[in-house]
Subunit: 442 residues, 3 copies
């Protein structure tokens, strides 16, 4: 645990929390500015309103300035200034008086948790609404015999959809994609946790020599993903592995959802790193933006990392998913895990044993111990596995899967063996196979 | 449950029950006439005595008129007129007196159930015998010091082996075969149940527009199957799926025995329809006529549907397997299951998603709900699975296997999607793969 | 159980027990002479000191004549004449006096079992040492204030490494290899048991007509295996199956360790013969000489048979592994198992059913019983399986795996069927596939 890093991520989340993110608009641009302020060399991309993106069209840009419901006694019963969740995200403007019976059809509460404000959106149907606690609902109910003033000072105008992108170039052009959605307003785990972990991961990798090119994208969900795919079809083809990041600050264990094929490098690496198969679930065409990356026309090798299953996250899409629902330690542990993932990727080489006929005479190489039945030293056992398996075709991941040792352990021994001349890098190390080449149906 | 259908099948079984079926002879022809009377447009095929059929030769035709054992006091202790099971099926004629010690070597009883008459056959060894209850046996034992008169008025003469066949032509020439054995005399589940269900299934399908050609055969077991195979080698090659039907009126759950490959379309469909793997067993070269269809030279994709495992059917081959051992509800449920099977076959198309890059914008298609994490509506989930999987190569069965939804549910959604333009029929829909092409060894 | 055979093997072990085997030297030649005396037509191979063998060099030959530790009172506290385990195998000569503090760094005891002398070797580091019981250690400890006389009358001189080899020629040149290590001195299960069982197996097979050529090698571990591989590269290529034999006289159940591929003929045969999967473990590059045969350059289809897992053998490499730790019955049962293995190999033919279209009419072949549902006779069931599976491509092992019947049972029925003309030997019976051809990575 690196306490400093965890605190940094929590501070970033605190800055981002009050900004009113949506599918489009000012809040998203403010959020990307905050990420630049965190030290990320972000490029901002704007996709104009009206642009056709596959089966969709980018809508006009949404702006909101204020919103409230006032009872006849002049008291603001629901006030946008208390929480931006109070307005259905994407609501059209309204300013009128109406009776309770009409108003109530525009109100949303959370039945199971009376003190929570639910989070609702309406991006493509031109309608308006308020989200509120059961308590607020009841306070208005007692005044239902008089008119309510309803005001949403919001508007749609030509503008654009905004996303931010950061590239850390590596030696080769194959890319590793980290993807987070930027459109949720004052919700913490979903998805300030993903944004904060991605930001800190990018900052950490930026100072390293990298084999692969790493790309971080912060974009609104669904349409943001489609815009990025539309702008980057050629890049999509060279994505070697990718992860959608969200729900990383809560107390659950890490959970991995596979890419469509279930057999991509990212799937195999995650299974090896997580160890326990109960932490892995198969791809389904529901969930976060992995839905878009997995469609027939793309089938990208992109999985999803969360803590626990989103489908059972108790605070999902409600004001209970606030900064108190996540903590620095969990964010940092998720970050640490992702650094292991990147490290395993970077080190996943193929080696060739230089001595293939019989065991090597270890004494000649200055390596301690001789082979034998009861050799319990793990490093020596790894060494013998390497001599047994390194025919130039097996990557360290293949070897980890076969032996149960971690890629880190194996890489350490491989480096030692390379030094004394027992291993060399395989010539065909670059000819990797991955699912995106075959676009196999899962 | 369609009470009418169940009763019809029971009535047909009642008509067929007393007819004395055998490998050859009058009883079989009478039975086929009864099936014609039930509304089936049956064609009767006669294979002459002496004809070589693979490794076998069609024997002379058997006729029987009467049979009894009379004790010295003139009482008929065993009488053919009580039950045609009393005579070993295929017995040669005999008319003589003999002592108990000689007679007893020709008597068969059922040790475990003293009141039951066992069912025995002797088609290729020229011998005679009687089957009787323990009680009858004992009544004769008390008179064993005097001679018994033994009479079987039976004969073998040149004639033929008879089977009936019904064809329901469909749009394509690939055939679905339903096969039942016709040779058992007064036994109900084995096999009036199979005959009745096949007859009603044929009558039901006859009024439908069919994609496949359906063929129903009613033939004596073993040699009847070999005769049909010998007469239809070219047709055997285009059997797309088939089922041997028997034991369908008792109270056990449906059980499927796989075709030799275990991976034919019929095997996969049955596994999907039955759901529970305990209801499926692997092919073995023992049992009913699936034994012949599965031999090396044929390896047809034909499985077997029964209720429970025949090997443990308590009334197997005895007079206890009478009409009281089966009921209309079970026959009707079996029929309903077979109609689902045919329906799944007919609908097992391949589709192509028209929108493959990213999710479709459902709103534009007039389909309710938008995609999202917590979409619980089954139809919408099926819709997204279809968008995810319909690349033109996957049949609805493939999709059912991958998703766990039934072919019926999937077909409903597919039809809806086709209407709004989200799916089209795949061009290569007719290029099906099946095990009969490869004749793979199981 | 053949009591005679078991006793013979125990007697051979008794003769071999006191001989001082090592990596090189007189004890090994004496042991090979004892095997010749047992009736084996052994050929002795000498590999000269200094010869390069893959990554290794054959060391000078070791001789030892005497060794002891004497306390100042003139008492021999540790005496080579009591047990050849007392000297670290391969020790250089020494003859001097030294204080306890120096001596103790050359002493080895067995912490967990105070009465046992451990077995240690030092073949490539020029050093010396004694192995002794805790009791002996303590008796010297009480005299630690005076000098000890230490004497090992041993030397290294140009000579050779010795191994013995026996070939039993069969009809075809594919070879079955039985391998045992000869280098352990007074240890019983490890490996007089392997030597004795191999010797008796060779003696038994020598009197039989053999399909395959059988090769038995008795060689020092590791370097002996490498010498043999170096001398026999062309022969290694035609090894069809092989087993390393050791630990066969103790009370544990038989255990099989797979060859590298895990799918070689030897692996499949062993799994079939042992039945219980808990008795089989995957290949690992640790253990006995299977380590050398499994290296990348060879990947030979050679597994290992032991009783129990060597890693948990309580007496491993200690004086507790003496003749009392094994018995004649267990040796004989292991031998019997190996004879079954050879028998299964010899009989593992491929047959072609002569009647492939429909079942044969068994009556015409003089075979009892007719086919039917409830046929419980195992031989008849095997017969029908053979008719079902014998397409010329399936060996008896394939059929055993598919049906669960043993190769012995299947071979008996196959012979009977061949006699009556229902089966013939497949023409391509010699075209066997084995893992050594593909050298697949495990």
């Amino acid at each position: 645990m690196n306490g400093h890093r965890g605190e940094n991520m929590m501070e970033l989340a605190q800055i981002l929390f009050p900004l009113h993110r949506s599918m489009t608009g000012l809040g998203n641009r403010q959020s990307l500015e905050a990420l630049s302020g965190y030290g990320l060399d972000l490029q901002t991309v704007e996709v104009p309103s009206g642009e056709q993106v596959f089966d969709w069209r980018v809508p006009d840009e949404w702006s909101i300035r204020d919103a409230f419901i006032e009872s006849a006694d002049g008291v603001r019963r629901v006030d946008y200034r208390d929480s931006n969740l109070h307005v259905v995200n994407g609501s059209i403007g309204v300013d009128t008086e109406m009776p309770w019976e009409e108003l109530r059809t525009h109100l949303h509460t959370c039945e199971s948790r009376p003190d929570a404000i639910p989070y609702k959106t309406s991006y493509f149907h031109r309608e308006w609404g308020f989200c509120l606690t059961q308590r607020q609902y009841e306070s208005m109910l007692s005044r239902k015999d008089r008119l309510f003033r309803v005001c949403i000072d919001a508007s749609y105008e030509k503008g654009s959809l905004t996303y931010g992108e950061l590239i850390l170039p590596g030696k080769c052009k194959e890319e590793i994609l980290f993807w987070t959605h930027l459109c949720h307003p004052s919700l913490a785990n979903d998805n300030l946790s993903g944004i904060a972990v991605a930001a800190e991961l990018a900052r950490t990798l930026a100072s390293q020599h990298l084999q692969y090119t790493y790309r971080f994208v912060f974009a609104p969900a669904t349409l943001g993903a489609l815009c990025w795919l539309s702008n980057n079809r050629n890049i999509a083809d060279r994505i070697y592995a990718g992860l959608v990041l969200t729900l990383l600050g809560n107390l659950e264990e890490l959970h991995y959802k596979q890419s469509p094929s279930g057999e991509a490098l990212v799937d195999r690496l995650m299974a090896t790193l997580l160890g326990d198969k109960q932490s892995v679930s198969r791809y389904e065409p529901f969930g976060y933006d992995e839905r878009q990356f997995g469609t027939l026309g793309f089938r990208l090798p992109i999985g999803r990392l969360t803590r626990g299953l989103p489908e059972v996250y108790a605070y999902y899409h409600s004001s209970d998913d606030n900064l108190a629902a996540m903590n620095a330690e969990q964010l940092d542990a998720a970050l640490e895990f992702l650094l292991c993932f990147c490290n395993a990727l970077e080190n996943n080489k193929k080696y060739l044993a230089t001595q293939q006929h019989g065991e090597p005479h270890l004494g000649s190489y200055g390596l301690r111990k001789s082979p034998g039945l009861l050799s319990n030293d793990d490093q020596q056992r790894v060494l013998f596995w390497m001599m047994h398996l390194c025919d130039g075709s097996m990557s360290l991941l293949d070897i980890a899967e076969r032996t149960g040792y971690s890629i880190t352990e194996i890489h350490e021994v491989a480096a030692m063996m390379q030094t004394v001349g027992l291993l060399s890098i395989a010539r065909n190390d670059r000819s990797r196979s991955n699912s995106y080449m075959a676009k196999a149906i899962c």
